[in-house]
Amino acid sequence: MDKIWLIIKREYLTRVRNKTFILSTFLLPIVMIGFIAVVVVITVNSVDQYKIAVSDSSGMFKDEFKNSKMVTFAYRNDVNERNYVKEGFSGILLIPRLRTDKKDTIRLISEKQLGMMTDDAIRKEINKAVEDKMFQDRGIDRHVIDSIRENSENSVYAFKSLQVKGGEIKESNSGRSYGIGFACGILIYITLFIYGAAVMRGVMEEKMNRIAEVMISSAKPFQLMMGKIVGIAAVSLTQFLMWIVLMTILSTALTAFIPHEMMAQAQQVNQNMPNMATNNSMAYKILEIKNIFDGVNWGLLLFCFFFYFLGGYLFYSSLFAAVGSVVNEDPQEAQALMLPITMPIILSFVVMSIAASTPSSPAAVWGSIIPFSSPIVMMARIPYGVPGTVPWWQLGLSMVLLLLGFLFTTWMSAKIYRTGILLYGKKVTLKELVKWAFRKS
């Protein structure tokens, strides 16, 4: 126990004192916040404004289309397909005389593609105008329609999605749960790779520097392996805590720095965008984060995050250590041997993206219970509510299985590691690894 503690301490201290650690710890939050800030600024400033000439032979649509930030319309019957560019338009909308008994085509002509969002915006305007016309033709007044539209959404009803379990009623917020779940899943996915690879590199370094033999004449291979794994886990936790602190400070500072109008503008841009685009917009997300932060069980979420992060890390890092121990000089060998480890992680990521939107689907439930994917998948489900979307028994089973899985991979990896770390010059095949892992000692 004494020795393993010494090894942990060395692994931790040499890494934490390292310049790259200090740099990455301090730079990453700055880079990320900077990145978000740049995205916000770009979304606000880079909305292309297209001028569209409308050639409406019947005059039916005159002044019906509303200008928006993206598109402005000009009713010019003197402009045609040949000269619209010269007249300074990005495109021309050719509307024939529409009749109710025959389907006709409205054409939007442009030199370059206007983009999906612009197309959508124009189509919506047309559709609304046609609808209005059809209402009017049936004798319904335009103002009546407008007031009905307004009232239906704002005065007559409000929509609430509620989660009721036992006597408890909670307002559910799928968008929020999706966002938090997805973010946690991605975070665990990335960190598994980063710190798993750090373990592997550490083991490879020991093997290549030939220090392994000296070490193993003082400590048991298992102590050496676990010392490294636990040491790096401590490094990762340190880094996480630093990031959380730094991000909080920086984002507070950032919101103070960004002018209020710019935030409002970003919000407006998002409202103008068609629905499908909104989820992907960074600016929109930043704005939403503020609303998101209330009503989440932060204690449980944080606990689960750290549990699944550590559990997943421990589950996979010993496998990474085993791979590191059998690799010789050739880094390509590592690539090939890593495949059986990276595949399940990537698969978990895919299942996680399903789980983030449909947290109760069979794929999500099973993915969150089976140990190799549970660290990533479960985190996408938890924000939807425990107990509720995730019953206690599922969470408990998933945690227990992850712990058992970790013990199993460590036991297996320790056997591979013990043989691999002192083996030089021999290329090891997967078949041999499996043999080492399961033979009796």
Binding site: K3, T14, E213, S217
Partner: protein, 312 residues
């Protein structure tokens, strides 16, 4: 019982090789023991079993008269493997402390001993340097210091002089003598025979996983002597009359190499030569060097070991 370590019928088979095949020997306390053998003879495997890195397939290792316990006894052992290894990015002082503490020393003990050794080996200025800043010879010295720092009762050195200049090699050699004097037992593995001849009390020769020679350096040489004598004369001599006591097997400038025939003694040779009226200035026995013995024993066996499936 003055054997520090005693190895009995040790076996270790790999999938395609009998790396160590039934080897037994004992090493007495305070001696310098040479383990010789060509490349791939099984020396490293044997040493790894003695250091507790590998478990033998069968056989027994007795350490201080008790069954060797890899976990409890490693603090008594200092092992310097053939492939040297240190953490390149770690500061030298810290590294020495770390390795010493892994061997069970307390921090203050470790500090004190490191100070002593660093001073002795003129390494004080290295403390805050990193291993990657050291030359090969320098890191070799550091490796030696970290091996013996915890005053192990058994020091195992695999090719300790490779890469060292004569001055530093002598320095280490003196330290090895010093350690033996203080009661440490030293196992010394090499294929550089002249070093063995100089340093070791007792040797074993291993080839293809089996022991082919075991004894003190003196004894071994006696066993392999070919009754060769060198006789030096003041003047160059053309030839000696034929006789049935010896035959001349070689000539150099002013001396002859004689091989004494069965049933005769050096005394007979001298008597015969004195009768020849030549001025004799030198008469000495030529003992075979370990190098010769080594070559004679190993020659004729395939130089590289062949791989073959092993069934146990």
């Amino acid at each position: 019982m003055d054997n520090l370590i005693s190895v009995q019928h040790l076996k270790k088979y790999y999938a395609t090789q009998k790396a160590v095949d039934d080897i037994s020997f004992s090493i007495s306390k305070g001696s310098i023991f040479g383990m010789l053998g060509p490349n791939g003879a099984g020396k490293t495997t044997l040493l790894r079993m003695i250091t507790g890195i590998f478990f033998p397939d069968s056989g027994e290792i007795l350490f201080n008269g008790k069954k060797f316990d890899a976990i409890a006894d490693v603090s008594q052992i200092g092992y310097m493997p053939e492939e040297r290894g240190l953490y390149k990015k770690m500061k030298i002082g810290e590294q020495a402390i770390y390795l010493a503490r892994l061997k069970g020393l307390s921090r203050s003990d470790a500090m004190q001993k490191i100070r002593y050794w660093f001073e002795k080996m003129e390494m004080q200025s290295w403390w805050n340097k990193k291993v990657e800043d050291l030359s090969k010879g320098m890191s070799q010295k550091l490796q030696f210091v970290t091996t013996v720092l915890h005053e192990p009762s058994l020091v195992i050195l695999d090719e300790p002089f490779s890469g060292l200049d004569p001055v530093n090699a002598n320095m280490i050699k003196d330290e090895i003598y010093g350690l033996a004097q203080k009661g440490s037992t030293i196992i010394f593995s090499t294929h550089r025979m002249e070093q063995v001849e100089e340093i070791c009390d007792h040797i074993v020769l291993i080839n293809k996983g089996t022991k082919i020679l075991d004894g003190t350096v003196r004894r071994v040489k006696q066993d392999f002597k070919e009754n060769l004598f060198q006789v030096g004369f003041e003047k160059e001599i053309a030839s000696l009359p034929p006789n049935n006591i010896f035959e001349v097997v070689g000539t150099t400038d002013h001396s002859l190499v004689l091989k004494i025939k069965e049933g005769h003694k050096p005394h007979d040779v001298l008597q015969f030569l004195l009768g020849q009226q030549h001025e004799i200035v030198l008469f000495q026995e030529i003992l075979p060097s370990l190098n010769d013995i080594f070559i004679r024993l190993v020659e004729g066996t395939p130089l590289s070991r062949q791989f073959q499936p092993i069934t146990t």
